[in-house]
């Protein structure tokens, strides 16, 4: 059970870290990838919390489609975050 | 740091402290306090809906109306996106 407990602690930490990276990065595409990795970690977390249905949905929607839509939007606009005006 | 950012940081901290603090008052992780609704569903899923998957039985049977709402949300989003990218001239 120690292993499971360790996962229960490590996964949330990794999630927080990748969320912070997604917020921190100036390159929006990179931020989107960080967001996708957060989604994947979240999906894994769902899986170990005994919610396989939600894990599949999160992996399909959160990691794949959200990323696709975000990348499309970034392509239509601008890739880097602007500094102060 | 201008005034706005200080204000924002201060109140964000307050909200953060309260949210973290409320975690202490939640039921312990993994031990829900009450099982009024869910235990009934777990006990009766197979008999009432003929499905193995408890989640599907909730999604389409016990709370099917929510799923209709969810489908409607998706429908709304598609209609909105198609509408926003329509041609403006006839």
């Amino acid at each position: 059970m120690i292993l499971l407990d360790a996962i229960h602690i490590i996964l949330p930490l990794l999630m927080i870290v990748s969320a912070l990276i997604a917020v921190y990065l100036k390159d929006l595409v990179a931020a989107t990838i960080a967001l996708a990795s957060m989604s994947l970690l979240l999906s894994l977390e769902f899986y170990i919390l005994q919610a396989p249905d939600v894990a599949i949905a999160e992996a399909g929607v959160g990691a794949a489609l959200t990323t696709a839509i975000l990348i499309l939007a970034i392509k239509a606009t601008k890739r880097t975050e602007e500094e102060e005006e | 740091m201008n005034q706005r950012n200080i204000l924002a940081a201060a109140f964000l901290t307050i909200v953060a402290v309260f949210l973290m603090f409320s975690a202490l008052f939640m039921h312990p992780f993994g031990e829900p306090t009450s099982q009024a609704m869910d235990q009934y569903i777990i006990d009766n899923t197979v008999g009432e809906t003929g499905a193995n998957n408890g989640v599907t039985s909730v999604v389409f049977d016990y709370r099917g109306f929510d799923t209709l709402g969810e489908a409607t949300v998706l429908f709304t989003a598609v209609a909105s996106v198609v509408m926003l990218f329509r041609r403006l001239k006839k």
Binding site: - | M26, S34, Y62, R63, G64, F65, T72, T76, S80
Partner: protein
């Protein structure tokens, strides 16, 4: 079981299902005929209106209705509620009547108003979806269901606010609206989850009962704060009202009208949460949520009127007017709550006389605000339709060519500023007199805001309709008949409500106020009441 009984039994479900079915069918019908689609939308909303009025007559005669989705079995299984259920009491149906009137007028008005635009199939689809979401929020008795309908309403209205995508401001307003709505909805969901975690229930009545048993824990307080903050933001109370003039000002006029309904549905959610779900614990002496509502209402009124005075855009000005009007409702309902919280424990909510009057006034003002502000928005839309201009500085002298529109505007002006004999006066009189009992300053501020509202709209009357005939607008003609019809419907209701307020109050508003304050009626069925 004859057909009427069957329809009546299923009316709560059909009220949601029919506009939803209409929305799903609209893209298909739109392929066949353009005109057919417009009429189809009108018919669908008309049928829904019939169901709403059918339900209203039943509920006002025989008390609340419940409808269980997915089962004919008893609503309560082993002392708990498993399925989603609609619980329609007098308050819900009162709000639903407002919603359906607004929706019907909007769809009739759209017939001519939106004629020259592309993308109308999606427009009507979203309009019907917005109606669905609004009605769903008002009728549902399930927390999560409320959230889902809140999202449907938000998404549909945000897209419709940005309908004219060639206008930068419209798109921005749509973006602001969706961001604000999403954050509000997410915090509502978070609060729902907090309550779910405590009581393992999603039904409002069930949660209310459990709250009464467990008392008022810290988690409940946090959830209540999240509900109040998020729903007050969605309901446009200051200082979180800023999205409202943006969205109201940039949307097509028919959508502004429906947005009023959406905003009030959120406000309804706020009242429902505070009074019904937290009804068992809300009058615990130390906690006076009432004062929070009163203060929010006061700030809202003052900010609304002061900002409205300096506006130069027709629709944005009315948007700020709408903000001020929303303040009256929060003020009145909050006053009712405060009087009870301050009274000695022997006085319950029902027996405190001014509390009831204040809440009656507040609820009566909900319908009056919807009608008055709605009429003004329709007039603004008519002016835009005729002149393609909303800036007050450029408009002028339109009364010569647009006689009926001017008359409707004057009716709306007098009604919104609370002058007799129109409906605004009746509800505002109730609000002034009952808030005076709590604190005279409140009623003074309320009267002051009314006076300022009159001043604001007289300014609009002067600068849009009066003054010399500007050469630019010599060829302006009166708007088409369907738009005039839509305005006339609302103006007619305003006059009827103004002339016979007591009929409306006794038959419609007081049952709603009783249903709001008396949550034992709402919880009755849990113990096998009906």
């Amino acid at each position: 079981m004859n057909i009427v009984d069957m329809l009546l039994t299923h009316a709560p479900a059909l009220t949601i299902a029919i506009p939803l079915l209409g929305a799903f069918l609209t893209p298909l019908i739109s392929r066949v005929s353009e005109k057919g689609r417009n009429i189809f939308a009108i018919i669908i909303v008309g049928i829904t209106a019939l169901f709403v009025f059918l339900m209203a007559s039943e509920i006002l005669a025989n008390g609340p209705m419940t409808y269980v989705f997915g089962s004919t079995a008893a609503t309560v299984q082993q002392s708990t509620v498993i399925r989603i259920l609609f619980e329609v009491d007098a308050l819900s149906i009162f709000m639903a009547i407002i919603g359906i009137i607004l929706s019907f007028v909007a769809v009739v008005y759209s017939y001519a108003f939106m004629e020259k635009n592309t993308g109308l199939d999606k427009y009507y689809t979203l309009l019907l979806l917005m109606t669905t979401g609004m009605l769903g929020m008002m009728l549902t008795g399930d927390m999560f269901n409320f959230f889902v309908f809140l999202e449907i309403t938000s998404i549909a209205s945000a897209a419709l606010v940005a309908f004219w995508t060639n206008k930068a401001k419209a798109v921005e307003a749509g973006f602001k609206y969706i961001v604000i709505s999403t954050i509000g909805a997410l915090f509502v969901l978070f609060a729902i989850a907090l309550l779910y975690g405590q009581y393992d229930a999603l039904n409002m009545a069930k949660i209310a009962q459990s709250l009464g048993i467990s008392g008022f824990t810290f988690i409940d307080k946090i959830a209540l704060v999240l509900f109040i903050a998020a729903l007050a933001m969605k309901g446009g109370l200051a200082p979180m009202h800023m999205w409202l003039p943006d969205a109201y000002g940039q949307a097509p006029a028919s959508i502004s009208l429906l947005l009023i309904g959406a905003t009030q549905a959120s406000l309804y959610g706020l009242f429902r949460i505070v009074f019904t779900v937290y009804g068992e614990v809300i009058s615990l002496p130390a906690i006076s949520i009432g004062w929070i509502l009163v203060l929010l209402g006061l700030i809202t009124m003052l900010i609304g009127v002061i900002m409205a005075i300096i506006q130069t855009d027709f629709k944005r000005l009315i948007g700020y007017g709408a903000v001020a009007e929303l303040g009256y409702m929060a003020l009145a309902v909050g006053t009712g709550l405060t009087i009870v919280a301050n009274a000695d424990p022997n006085i319950t909510l029902q027996t405190a006389p001014f509390a009831m009057k204040a809440i009656t006034g507040g609820l009566f003002h909900v319908i009056n605000d919807a009608l008055d502000i709605g009429l003004l928005f329709l007039v603004a839309g008519a002016v835009y339709y005729a002149t393609k201009e909303t800036s007050l500085n450029k408009l002028g002298g339109l009364a010569r060519n647009m006689k009926y529109t001017t008359i409707f505007f004057i009716i709306g002006l007098l009604a919104v500023s609370g002058l007799p004999p129109f409906n605004g006066f009746a509800s505002k009189l109730l609000i002034y007199e009952s808030t005076y009992q709590l604190n005279p300053i409140l009623s003074i501020v309320a009267i002051l805001s009314s006076i300022l509202l009159l001043a604001i709209f007289v300014k609009v009357l002067h600068s849009v309709f009066l003054g010399p005939a500007l050469p630019k607008y010599e060829t302006v003609r009166e708007v088409p008949k369907s738009m005039l019809l839509a305005m006339a419907v609302i103006a007619g209701i305003i006059i009827v409500f103004g002339l016979f307020p007591q009929v409306i109050v006794t038959n419609l508003v007081e049952p709603a106020a009783n249903a709001l304050v008396n949550n034992s009626g709402y919880l009755q069925w849990l113990t096998g009441g009906f």
